[in-house]
Symmetry: C2
Subunit: 377 residues, 2 copies
């Protein structure tokens, strides 16, 4: 095990009707709120009205900024920063999934920073003072509700930034709010959460028995409940298992004391940046391809994955089982299913590597990444 520091920080408020507490929770941190969300869907579902009522009951003023899109854009982040400065906003409330939360986190980074917020993503400058962020989660997938990451797209660049300062102060999680998600989007979220665990599970750190077992347990629970929730999208219990698993998968707990990889995510980010595809769908093609490219580096670890997660006997059977699972829940496992051909593979492979190499489990060069894209074709 490696040395580590760890704490969870984000207060989770989980369960039926949890969204009614948003006003009281927000009041702990701010008086004037930027209410940040995506589309009109939160109005159709009635969630918007509930949140507005709860904020008003708590005596909180708010200004709205809607329009966050999947693979959230820097332009809206900049707009949010301007609003926060002009209106003296002291708290950002993100209502939505990972894109909305990431956009909110990026705004929170920029408000007290004198230059352009993209500097954080491009130059990795240290964050100093941020606005606090709270979350009402509607899509279980990205784990952003309790993570210290944000991923923003600027033209063809999709880059991440990490700082503990942007961990949300609270995350309100009511599984009922996820019942209207289309199956494809639920499945994309499931691929994302599995990928978050895979990035931590495949490590060169030795003697990580407890976290190995916790990772395997979480993936097994996701696999089991994924099939159930897609058959019964209105089942509260299955929705609850998947929602809690999405947070557990990415909160940091499963990676304590482990070197993490993160190559697959960055290889996928290029796909999302160039083709604007859903992150989870891209991951369902990239993660198995990455596995096929790297498994010989530590075949024993892949055998353990195969056995403990899928009850299979060999590394390759485990990878096939994961691929089969993605297919079973309706996800693409090949790039052509996403209408992606060979045209930009080399361009993306060069863009993904950024610096000397990508990933830690196996340090990938651009030619490795190209090979992974080709394996996913």
């Amino acid at each position: 095990m490696e040395n580590f520091t760890y704490s969870w920080k984000t207060e989770i408020i989980f369960g039926k009707g949890a969204e009614s507490r948003v006003g009281d929770e927000t009041k702990k941190y701010g008086k004037k709120v930027l209410l940040h969300y995506g589309k009109e869907s939160i109005k159709k579902s009635g969630l918007y009205d509930k949140i507005v009522a709860s904020l008003k009951d708590a005596g909180i003023e708010f200004i709205e900024l809607a329009g966050v899109v999947p693979n959230p854009r820097i332009e809206l982040v900049r707009e949010g920063i301007e609003i926060c400065r002009k209106e003296n906003i002291d708290f950002i409330l993100a209502v939505g999934g990972g894109s909305v939360i990431d956009s909110a986190k990026a705004i929170s980074l920029g408000v007290h920073y004198g230059e352009d917020v993209w500097d954080f993503f491009e130059k990795k400058i240290p964050a100093k003072k941020v606005l606090p962020v709270g979350v009402v989660l509607t899509i279980p997938a990205a784990g952003s509700e309790a993570s210290y990451a944000t991923v923003i797209t600027n033209g063809n660049e999709k880059l991440s930034y990490y700082t503990k300062l942007i961990k949300p102060r609270f995350a309100i999680m009511n599984p009922e709010l996820t019942m209207t998600l289309p199956n494809f989007q639920t499945a994309c979220g499931i691929a994302d959460m599995i990928a978050h665990i895979v990035e931590r599970y495949f490590t060169n750190t030795q003697n990580v028995d407890l976290t190995d077992k916790l990772c395997e347990a979480t993936i097994r629970s996701i696999v089991k409940n994924a099939k159930l929730v897609l058959e019964q999208p209105n089942n509260y219990d299955y929705r609850g298992e998947i929602m809690w698993a999405s947070t557990v998968a990415h909160q940091g707990f499963l990676g304590a004391g482990r070197e993490e990889d993160w190559a697959s995510h960055k290889i996928e980010h290029e796909l999302s940046a160039y083709y604007n595809i859903t992150h989870g769908a891209g991951l369902a093609t990239i993660v198995p391809a990455w596995m096929k490219h790297v498994y010989k580096h530590d075949e024993k670890r892949f055998e353990q994955f195969a056995k403990e997660v899928f009850g299979k006997d060999s590394a390759l059977e485990g990878i096939t089982a994961l691929e089969h699972f993605f297919k079973e829940i309706g996800l693409p496992t090949r790039l052509n299913e996403l209408n992606i051909g060979e045209e930009k593979l080399e361009l993306m492979a060069n863009a993904a590597v950024r610096g000397d190499h990508l990933g830690n489990f196996v340090k990938l060069k651009s030619e490795d990444i190209l090979e992974i894209y080709k394996l996913a074709l």
Copy 2:
């Protein structure tokens, strides 16, 4: 799953040499510290000198209060409160295991309270203002380093108190510091951490698949590494697995969304109060006896425990496997091994029940508790 709120709060600083950070961590919260510990063993091991040096480097004043005993006593807590008031202490640093940490938490409760600190334990009055507590952990067992519980003994009463306010601000955890523990004490700690998971695992809450699997994974890892660490007490990796598992077991994460039981702990607390035995040794006798008494209430759940933790086919085989494991690591599994006879069983059964019933999985009356004691004879 039940509705729940959750956050971890305590900052974990885990790994080799972590104790050298104690001064810097303490400085974040206080300037004048009560350095609270048990026996001279931390002086013999050199830990005391390292901590004193680190505190001095950070410019922190401190006053010592040693003498915490297993099943920590209210008298020393009261003494600590007096010192804190008189000396204007603003932070309590606990160096030791669960007893020292629980004693520190109890002191932290009492300093700003006008009446006797035992009121918290006896009358369950709400805590308002506490002193912050930090921990350098030397015994992995109680999980008190990141929990919101404290258990204190007053005469023949051993009572617990819970409030999020007393969660330690940080816990410094270096597995090297646990290498000198005698095997019996290591084993007692292992029984304690398994019991912490058992109290959460056996629940009437339905549809708790993810937390079930996380509980099973953690117990399996403890069982595996327990045997290894007792064979190789100086192995850093095995010590590390056990140390991290002790925190995970009791931090609250494994119980999120579940009704918890806590009967076994309270049945054991009477043993510790009347016979001053080690808590973990008492639990090794009580937990299997409790299981035998209640398993028919939900035999399916006990079958799942048997299968997933020990690879056994029936509820009773699972219970026997746990009992066998406790024996294997050198723990008593019968009260006579602790020189406890029938004399006080009825007295303790009546004392344990406190109010209408004890526990949640099965609501135990005093006659059930007496039956459990007898099963442990």
